[in-house]
């Protein structure tokens, strides 16, 4: 049973029951009042008639005539004749005997009540039985009055009541239906939207602008749907990234493995000379090194992904010394110069991570630059933050390449960076380092003009630094 069915039914039942009970009670009261009024009227009329009869009997007595049953009969008959037109019948009893009327069926007993309402032969009758005042107090006058009209009116009322009841019930049902349907419409909308979201349409929202509880519910619901959507998209992105990473990794593993397997086969089976044997073995070695490098980088990234690094003061002097030492052989080989500028003495960060960051950036710069080019490594203050910057005047990257540069295994120039043994993980690693240091990372690059990469760190005011 639906909610609106229940509401409709309950309201209808309560309303009709209350209405009926109250109307019924009122009618009951009205009936009782009418009846008692009718009895009162009958009673006073009876008293009036009884008084008149008494007066008549008195005057007969005062004339000295004897009072006998014939006299009684005549007197009562004259009144009965007169009142019968008004639907009133009279009876006179004396000493347990009916004096008037004499004809007709004889009641066995004298009426023993003073007033009552009975039904006889389908007629409703009020009977009042009272003795005449003394000295005629042995005479009992029974007054009967037909009250069929009263009952007819009551019957009419009852019919009217039933019809009104039915009509009102129908009317109420229609009105209630409209009202409840209107009131529960938001519920329907909510239910519809929930269904759609459950079916995977996470962008669906409830379009409900009201200020009642439903409006509140809809607002909260929309907030929930937003959170769900955000999480789902996040998960989707993560899954996509993972998939892409796995795809790229598989591809990245395939190439060196093809070489290693091929050259191993060659060594085992080929009829070759010493020189060729050395070339093959050399390739196996270099491809192994490449795989090893790849594994190390991946491990580094995976380590970084799990922990946020505590920040300590790092001396720029020590940092730059360490980086320069590492890069020196490569720079000499490429015939390039590294210039360092530092105008801040310390930053908040992690020494090892920053070394790794700068070495990766400078490696990229070396690969991008040509012979006799200069690479600038600098540390300076800007807007109360410390900026570490690596700038080169090498070949640069296009907008598209810059956008993808931080993605794992992305290479701006496939063949060139492979020559240097890279797997396209350098900048991806840098991004993760920046994330674990809560630092901002900027990359500016222009085709054929050079590249500039910056990491924005907090300045350190603590000068008692340890490397």
């Amino acid at each position: 049973m639906k909610f609106w069915h229940k509401v409709l039914l309950i309201v209808l039942i309560i309303f009709i029951a209350t209405l009926d009970i109250s109307i019924f009670t009122i009618m009951q009261k009205n009936w009782a009042l009418n009846l008692s009024w009718e009895i009162e009227r009958a009673s006073s009329e009876q008293a009036l008639i009884a008084n008149n009869i008494y007066e008549n009997l008195n005057s007969v007595r005062s004339r000295g005539s004897m009072l006998n049953e014939d006299v009684y009969y005549d007197v009562v008959r004259s009144y009965d004749n007169y009142y019968s037109k008004q639907g009133i019948a009279l009876e006179m009893w004396k000493d347990n005997r009916r004096v008037f009327p004499r004809s007709g069926e004889m009641d066995s007993a004298m009426p023993a009540f003073t007033s009552r309402s009975i039904e006889r032969n389908g007629n409703h009758i009020i009977q009042i039985a009272k003795y005449l005042p003394s000295p005629d107090d042995d005479l009992l006058l029974l007054y009967e009055r037909n009250i069929n009209s009263l009952f007819a009116v009551q019957q009419d009322l009852n019919h009217f009541f039933v019809i009104i009841n039915l009509a009102m019930g129908l009317c109420l049902m229609v009105l209630l239906y409209c009202a409840i349907r209107h009131l529960t419409k938001p519920l329907l909308m909510l239910s519809e939207t929930t269904k759609q979201i459950a079916d995977g349409n996470y962008v669906k929202r409830v379009a409900l602008k009201s200020k009642d509880e439903f409006g509140e519910l809809a607002d909260n619901f929309n907030r929930m749907a937003e959170a769900v959507e955000r999480h789902v998209t996040e998960l989707l992105h993560m899954a996509e990234e993972k998939q892409r990473l796995a795809d790229n990794l598989a591809h990245e593993l395939r190439t060196p493995l093809t070489g290693m397997k091929g050259f191993a086969d060659y060594l085992m089976t080929a009829n070759c000379n010493e020189e060729e044997r050395l070339i093959a073995a050399g390739y196996i070695q270099s491809e192994t090194l490449r795989l090893n490098q790849l594994a190390n980088k991946l491990l580094e990234i995976s380590d970084l992904k799990h922990e946020s690094c505590p920040l300590k003061p790092v001396s720029i002097e020590h940092l730059f010394d360490a980086v320069t030492n590492i890069e020196e052989p490569q720079l000499r080989l490429a015939n390039q110069t590294l210039i360092t500028n530092r105008s801040v003495s310390a930053v908040m960060g992690d020494f090892d991570l920053l070394v790794s960051f700068l070495v990766n950036c400078i490696d990229n710069a070396i690969h991008a630059s040509g012979e006799n080019d200069t690479i600038v490594l600098s540390a300076y203050e800007e807007n109360h933050t410390a900026v570490l910057e690596v700038r080169d005047e090498g070949c640069g990257m296009s907008m598209e390449q810059t956008k993808n540069a931080f993605e794992a295994f992305y290479r701006s120039d496939k063949s060139r960076s492979r020559e240097h043994g890279g797997a396209g993980l350098g900048l991806s690693l840098c991004k993760h380092i920046a994330e674990s240091l809560d630092a901002k990372l900027n990359l500016y690059s222009k085709m054929n003009e050079g590249t500039k990469i910056q990491i924005i760190l907090q300045l350190s005011n603590n000068f008692t630094v340890t490397p």
């Binding site: 395939r254 190439t255 086969d265 070759c272 496939k414």
Partner: protein
């Protein structure tokens, strides 16, 4: 022997392919990018082109599109194993398709098939006083026909195709007898013995310790 153009940007893979080609006795030209490949194609005649799809500057598909009337059959080499790529390759006129990582023997077999398909049937292999006419399935020694069973000829063909490369007994069984052959590796030894005797190749078909057999041909 055939003259091949190897277009592959990965130096290791390029060397791997060419070193194996050298064993068979093919001559080759190496190109590391699309531009060089086009230049070689314009200036030289090749019997076969081994073409990598992912190349710097000009990729393999672009090369094929630019040289619609390629003068030589093409085998595509790629790490991308996608159906659309394969279909595109074939639509552009590639003769075969091989996916990295590949087995050297498989590459050589495919090269052989494509070369033979495009050959005019005069392929014969001469070593010393022996001439093997592959198409006609005939072997001559001192210009005299040598009687051979089908199995022996097929074994000989496999050895010639993979000359200078050692083949294990299992590999030989698989190639000359077929995958479903349930024979022992002893069968190979017996047939090798017969071949050596019939052709006088006792010193040409070498037994390689722990490996199998190798037909040695000086380049």
């Amino acid at each position: 022997m055939a003259h091949l153009l190897v277009v592959e940007d990965e130096k290791a893979i390029s060397d791997l392919i060419t070193m194996n080609l050298k064993l068979i006795g093919h001559s080759f030209r190496k190109a590391f990018n699309g531009k060089d490949a086009l230049e070689f194609l314009n200036n030289e005649r090749f019997d076969l082109i081994l073409l990598d799809i992912m190349l710097p500057e000009l990729d393999g598909f672009q090369i094929m599109q630019q040289k619609r009337d390629l003068p030589a059959p093409v085998i595509l080499i790629t790490a991308k194993d996608s159906l659309t790529d394969r279909i595109k390759g074939f639509e552009l006129g590639a003769d075969d398709y091989i996916i990295k990582p590949f087995e050297t023997l498989e590459l050589l077999a495919r090269i052989n098939v494509v070369l033979r398909r495009n050959d005019n049937g005069n392929a014969s292999f001469v070593l010393g006083d022996v001439e093997v006419r592959i198409e006609e399935r005939q072997v001559f020694r001192h210009n005299e026909l040598v009687e051979m069973t089908t199995r022996e000829f097929e074994l000989l063909e496999v050895l010639i195709q993979n000359r200078n490369i050692a083949l294990s007994r299992e590999k030989l069984l698989e190639k000359a007898w077929g995958y479903d052959y349930q024979g022992e590796s002893r069968t190979v030894d017996v047939h090798i013995l017969k071949l050596r005797k019939k052709l006088g190749w006792e010193d040409k078909i070498k037994t390689v310790y722990k490996m199998g057999y190798r037909l040695e041909v000086l380049p």
